[in-house]
Each structure stands twice: as C-alpha cells, then as structure tokens.
Symmetry: none
Amino acid sequence: MSLTSRERLYLYDTTLRDGQQTQGVQFSTPEKAAIARALDDLGVDYIEGGWPGANPTDSEFFETRPDLRATFTAFGMTKRAGRSAANDEVLAAVMNAGTPAVCLVGKTHDFHVTTALGITLEENLVNIRDSVAHLVAGGREALFDAEHFFDGYKANPDYALEALKAAHGAGARWVVLCDTNGGTLPAEVGRIVAEVIAAGIPGARLGIHCHDDTGNAVACSLAAVDAGVRQIQGTLNGLGERCGNANLTSLIPTLLLKEPYASRFETGVAREALAGLVKVSRQLDDILNRVPLRSAAYVGASAFAHKAGLHASAILKDPTTYEHVDPALVGNARVIPMSNQAGQSNLRARLAAAGIEVAPGDPRLARILDVVKAREDQGYAYDGAQASFELLARAELGLLPRFFEIKRYRVTVERRKNRYDQMVSVSEAVVVVKIGRDKVLSVSESTDETGTDRGPVNALAKALAKDLGPYQASIEDMQLVDFKVRITQGGTEAVTRVIIDSEDGSGRRWSTVGVSPNIVDASFSALLDAIQWKLIQDGAEPALG
Amino acid sequence: MSLTSRERLYLYDTTLRDGQQTQGVQFSTPEKAAIARALDDLGVDYIEGGWPGANPTDSEFFETRPDLRATFTAFGMTKRAGRSAANDEVLAAVMNAGTPAVCLVGKTHDFHVTTALGITLEENLVNIRDSVAHLVAGGREALFDAEHFFDGYKANPDYALEALKAAHGAGARWVVLCDTNGGTLPAEVGRIVAEVIAAGIPGARLGIHCHDDTGNAVACSLAAVDAGVRQIQGTLNGLGERCGNANLTSLIPTLLLKEPYASRFETGVAREALAGLVKVSRQLDDILNRVPLRSAAYVGASAFAHKAGLHASAILKDPTTYEHVDPALVGNARVIPMSNQAGQSNLRARLAAAGIEVAPGDPRLARILDVVKAREDQGYAYDGAQASFELLARAELGLLPRFFEIKRYRVTVERRKNRYDQMVSVSEAVVVVKIGRDKVLSVSESTDETGTDRGPVNALAKALAKDLGPYQASIEDMQLVDFKVRITQGGTEAVTRVIIDSEDGSGRRWSTVGVSPNIVDASFSALLDAIQWKLIQDGAEPALG
C-alpha cells in the first residue's frame, strides 16, 4: 500500500493532565516543559498541557506558551448550568490559556447528570452544546471528552448518543469516548463504537480514552480503532488515575510496526522518532525518580531479554525465532547472557568510546563482563554511570592509576535544641587521605551560606575536596550537579544506589555510581569515582605509582 | 442463570515454570512450596511446578510431592527424533516426577522444526503423537503446549493444524495454543482460535497461553475464551519471560466479576477466595523482594485511589460513580489521597476514612489544606504517606496526643581499615527521649546479624525503638518494610524526601514521609511519624498531656 493511501490516525497525549492524576505524581513547570518537548520530538499530534486555572502549576505552564509542532491543548469542563458559556469563569480560564485546541469534559451518563451534577438531562445537553459552540466561535479546535460514555451508553443509549450529538452538532472536531471508570472490556468497546458510528457520528470524528483497571486499556484502544475511531488518547508509560491510562509507549510501536495497523494508518510519529521511544520512556521515569518497569512492553529492560537457555541459543541462529519485532526499532536492545560473543562486542564498543582499545577475544573482556554482572547483582547500574564503568574496566585492564588512598572517614549528624529552644542539626565530616608519603586530614561541616544543614553527604564531599595536595587544581573547578538516590531492594535489606552527576569548568559532565546498604558510604564511593575519573581526564600524575 | 448451567473454565498457573523465566527471578524450593499453597488456596485448577530434570531446584520441588487440591503438573518437552518416547531420558525425568498431569511443549511452526530442531516436518509430528500417547499410556492427563502456534499458523496453517491434531488424536486432554513470542494481537487471536475450532478441535479441549510483549496478554486470553477455548494459562502478577505471561491476578477478577464471563462461566476460584487476591499478589512480591506495582489492575495500591478532586467528591456520594467494581471483592481498599489538586470534599473523605469526622465548611479544613500546600512546596508528598497526613491534620484539629519528645540525637558513620587491612564501616546512633518526667538515653549500632553495616538510618531506627518506656509493647511488633528516597531538587540545593512503609503484627501497613536537606534527618522524621501513628491506632495514653 502506498503512503498516500493510508488513513491518518491521531495520537493525543494526556501525560501532563490525566498522567498527573497518578498517585504521587506532581510535575513542576520545568518538568512539564521537558516532557512536552520529548512528546513533540516523538511526534504525537496533540499535547494536553493540563487544566488552566485548576492549580498554580498548570496555569503557570500555559503562561510559558511552549513552542510546539503538536497541537497544544488545554483541558477544562463544560460550562455550569444557570450561566452562559461566556460568563463561566472556569471555562474563561481555559479559553484564556490561548491554546489552538481546547478539550472539555462533560457528562453523557444520565445517572451522573442527575446524581453528581444535580441538573436536568436537558440542561446538561445545553451545557455541552453551548460550551462547544463557544470554543468554535472563539476560533478553537474543539474536543469533547464524553465522560463515562460506555457506562452511560449501557444504562441509557439514547441519552448518551444525544450528548455526543450535541457536541458533534455544535462543531466539535473530536468527540472522545471515555471509559472513565476503566471497567469496559475490549469486545464491548468494539461493539459500542460500531453502534455509535451506525448512529451517525463518523469514525473520523471519534476518539477513544481508556483506563487500565482490568489490564485492557491498550486492547480497548485497538478495538476502538478496529471499529472506526481515528484518535487515541493515552499517556507515556501508562501514567494516570488509578491503574493508569492507555499506554502510548505500548500503543505507538504496535500501530507503527504491526499489522493491520502499519499498512493501514499513518500517524505523526515517524519511524526514525520511534527509535527514540526507550529514551523518552526513561526520561519520564527519571523525572519521576521511578525505577523503570523492566517488563514494560517494547521499552522495558527485559522486553528483549532471553533467559530460557533454549530461547537464547535459537536467538543466536535467528533473532526472529523468539522476537516479535526488532528491538532496535524502538531504541531497545536484546539482552543475552553476558558470557557470549555479542556481549563482548558490545563491551568493546563501549570501551572504544572511552578511548580504550581492546582486541577481540582478549580474555580480559570476559573478566570485565563477569565483574559487571556481579556488581549488577549487588545493585550497581552502569547504564547511567559511564565514568564508573570506565574505572571498573580500567581496573581489570591494569590501566587504573593510583592517585591517593582513603585511610578513613567519619561523619557525625547531630540534632539538638539550641539556646532559643529550636531544633537545629549539623553534620561534620573528617576524611583522612594518603597522597604519596603524606597523610592529609580534612574536616568540614554541612552548613551552607544560609545556615542550612545540608546533611552528611554534603559535609563529606566538602571535606574530601578540601585538600588533595597536588590534585587540588584539578578538582577545584568540579561541582556536584545532581545527586540521585534509589533503594534497589525494598524492606529491611534495603541497599542504596547513589548516582552523582559532576561537571567541571569546561562544561564536561560525567556520572558515577556507588552502592551500599549504608547511604553515606554509597555516596562516598560515587564521589571518589567522580574525582578519580576527572584526574584521569586531566592526565594527573599518579602519586602512589 | 443458575449455577449448574454455567460452563467450566479452567485456570492453569505457570508462575513456578514460565514465571521463573523472569529476569532476576529464581525460586528456592520452600518458595515454590509457599507459592503453590497460595495458588491452591486461591483455587486455580492446575499448578505447573517446573521442569523436573531441567535444574536441581525444580527436581527437588517435585520430590516434595506437594499435597494440592489443584492438578499438579510437570512441564517438559516432546521426545527427540531418533529415539522412542520410552527411551528419551528427558521425557523420562518428567514422567518420573509422578504428577497426575504432564504438559509437553512441542513445535507447530514449520520454520522452527526445520531451523531450530533441524528435523523433518513428519518427524516432528511423530514426536508429538508418540510423546502424548506415552503420557496417556502412563495414566497421565496429557497437555500439549503448541509452541509458536499463532506465528506458525500464519506461516503455514495446514502444518500448524496437523501438529495440533497429532496431539489431540493421541489423546491430549488439552491442546494449548501458545503465542510464544507475544506478538499476536487480540483480534488475530480470536480469529485464529475460531478457525482452529472450525477445523475440528473442540474449544473444550483448547487452552491459551499468551505473553505481554504488546501489552495485550490479558486481552488476547479473553479473546481466545470469547472464541471458544476453555483453559487459560497465566502467572501471578504477570511474571514471565521478557514482558511476562498473561496476568492471572488481572484475569481472575474479570472472569468472576464482569460480564459476559461472570454469568457464563464457573472456575475453580470461589468468590470468598477472590477476596484474598491482594494478599496472594503481595505474598509473591514479598518472596521476590519486589516493591508491589501500585498501578496493577484490581490489586495495586492505587487501583482504587481517587486523586482528582471531582472524582473524590462524587465517590463520597456514591462509589459506583468512579469505581468499576467494589475494591473489597478482591481484598483491596479505596484510597482518597491528598494532593494540591484536591478540594475540601477530598479532604473530608480522607479524614473520615481515618475515623475523624469534620463538618463541611469547618474553617480548620481550609487551614489543613494550606498546611498541606506549604509542605508540598517544601517537598513533602502526602499521596503516598497517609499516616503522616493524618498526623498533620490531627495537629491542626487539636487532636494530636503528645506521647514523647525527642531532646536530641547523634549518628556517627565511620569507615576505616580493620586489622586485616579491609575497609569496614559502622554507624552508631544515640537518641535522647523525654517521656513524662523521664529522660531515656538509647544507643544502637547498624551492624546486622550477618555483620553488615546497614547504615545510619538503621542505627537510628534501632536506637529509637529500643526503649520507649510505657509504649514499648506497642512498637515491639512494628517493622520497617520499605524505605524510599527521592531527591526533590537536583544539585547542591538537594532536598531529600524519605517515605517509610511500616507494618505491625496484625498485617496493618502505613506510610509516613520526612523531608530535609539532611537525609538522616528526613528519615528520622518519617520514623517518628510512623511510631506516633501506631501509638494513636493502639489508643496509647499520652504521657506528655
């Protein structure tokens, strides 16, 4: 089938609005901006930024007027009964955001109209019609989110359809069928969508919005497309209220790579952009400081991991034996036992990137892989800590210079009442370092210029950087720019992984990792790696031989 | 519909076999026994224990001959070409496990027969036929796992069907259609299953085995049932190779609670057992030391969490407004989290759930929301820390008992070489508490029974819990079950948020939050909240008035 004969299918992202309904998620304005940029690079068609007026962050984000290729969309609700659309201040706040498109949620389930809103069924239809007409008159692309549509249709199909028609007739570009409570199953979604289209609303004007309360949000979305809808709403990594929304990170590759969708539809996401999908998914997890879900479809770290021995050996003969798509198409990678040939060629490429050339088949390659595997079992993660990985490899290759040695350190955190009867805390660190023949003792405390105690890791970093003798000039322009902590095992056996991002005067950035059940010790290891890597880059002379 | 007229649908659990193919999962024999017991109490029909002979743990588990209500099943593969079924030692090991049922995997995709096995298509049919006949002759219930069936059927439908018929004709009780690579979509599964039945294998003899590589394993399983299969294979919490198997924890409630399944089918799982589903799901996570997935369908901690303000106020009027099923049916609970998107009705619901009734419009409600907002700006997050939220609200309402007062604490982390020239670390904490008129000093160190230093927070938790005088009995059964750290601002201004999950002897779990630039201090606050909340629940007498 040629490109031009394919139908257009539109992707509508609501990570910044419904995704923010996830328990524990609250984006800041810069985080919203970063996610919007990532979505725009991916190529989704609509980016819903939030509900202007509902909270200060959402309002602030709309004020930034992000420059996007996608249609930037504000979310709100249909006007209340007893006032005109023009006089509804909630609706006015949404309009004032000045976005090219506006999506308004409204009731389509008779029970909700009378119970939750406490208005008549006719008043609700007027609210829908007038609100949509108000958007259209204001020159906006209008979307109507038909809340509880599937439950409403099952209870009272005539009224639910009337509500859709009110929006459609008033000029809504899209009427979005929402399974708000997430309980509708795929077969039922398909059947009801077909009935809606038969009742006169064309599929080209219909969208679908599903939730994952039965684990079927992706399948329900596909069933709706099969039945004729042409807009899919969802979120990155399936964020969202309760069990989350339809996961766009799963849907997009299916739509682009698998039949019947790949031949039939065109979306705003290009094949090249699809190769950035894993990166986008990880970026969101980074912002949320979540551990990425290993088993996630397409993008999970285990999605192409072949643990079964029979599978792994067949994969070596032909990857299609146990892979439904090529992992590279979504920016993912095949994971096969560390000891084999493919593992070694990966490793050589990574070392070469760090300027370390090792011949194929060098036995030290297998040793490095063994150490990496053992460290990963302890909780290390080298994907995000290239500098620590280089140090590990150098150690195995005999290429690690010895600059200094930590003899001991001690950190004290103390909290007590001061003379004004206020609780105050202070941390103090002592570090003892051997450099050549010299033993250097340094002490620092954690109080910053504002008098705030910044804690034991801060005190330790300052003490460590206070006097490193001949290396002082090299570390003087270093600063810690980010500090991430993750508990890699739950419960009382908790092990802490600390990743530190450092930067120097030249703008160079590098990341190091430390792991320990003791969070202070994990941080200290990562700090040490950061300094050591910097000294190697600067070509510092090893004082310990 | 009466009970007797319902069709029987069989549930086949493969957590102990395919679930063990999950990256990072390796069950011990006692763990397998515990999971099998939990599955048996739940009421699944078949429990696949593993592959006897494939590895020592699996062999050992079968030797324990667990006493189960379910049909205990051994997994293996069809005999190799060039020997008889009776002379195949791999098959013999499976038979020797002595289980009432045996499931053998075999090829149905012509490409795999010739490429992976390197035998003729006819030899493969003989292997299937003879192996199944061997099981039947040995008095076993025979199951045939048709590997790569859907891909095989798409490539060569005639051969794939011949393979199924070989197993069926030889007496297999079940022919299980496996989507081994996980790439088949629900509509395709439904169509192909219908064609298989039309080709002469009755649905009452067919099973389905799906993987989640496109996020559709649950939907594919349902599509297969809709088309006529009567056995579903899956795993608890969707464990399994790559993205995992069909998640029985999602499927079982759908089959029991939702139409058309609830009226149409009967399974081995009783409604009363379903109320233990959350517990079974958590038990598996405990064994794997995994943090439970909050967004999991039905069983996730967020599955019935209503964050949106509009949702929360409607839920107060009628829970069916935003819940597709009653959470109690699966042993879950409704959660009305706090967030700055929530209004006063959300807040009142949250307080009511904690047993605190406040009249609508009470001015203290607005004050509580102001405090929550101010705290969230500092980095607090009350969504995941309801116990800390309750304490905050009680403080504003004048309902916070004063049990004890922390006068001061000090934690020391020390790392130095021991006499064997190894670096060792130890943390020590001193806590001074005033209880009534008494001042209590406690000291603890962080070394656990294995000699591992578990860090400053561990030392502090132990010192704090060492002697709380009249409250000691109440905190004795408390334990810290999870510890999460998030840096809420990057760089040198880093602020740390710590969330602690605690549990007591009654199985009650609660979460508390602490925030500070000093990670030790943030942890200490969260620990204090956890103890204080527990004392309130236990009705402890305030010693400080």
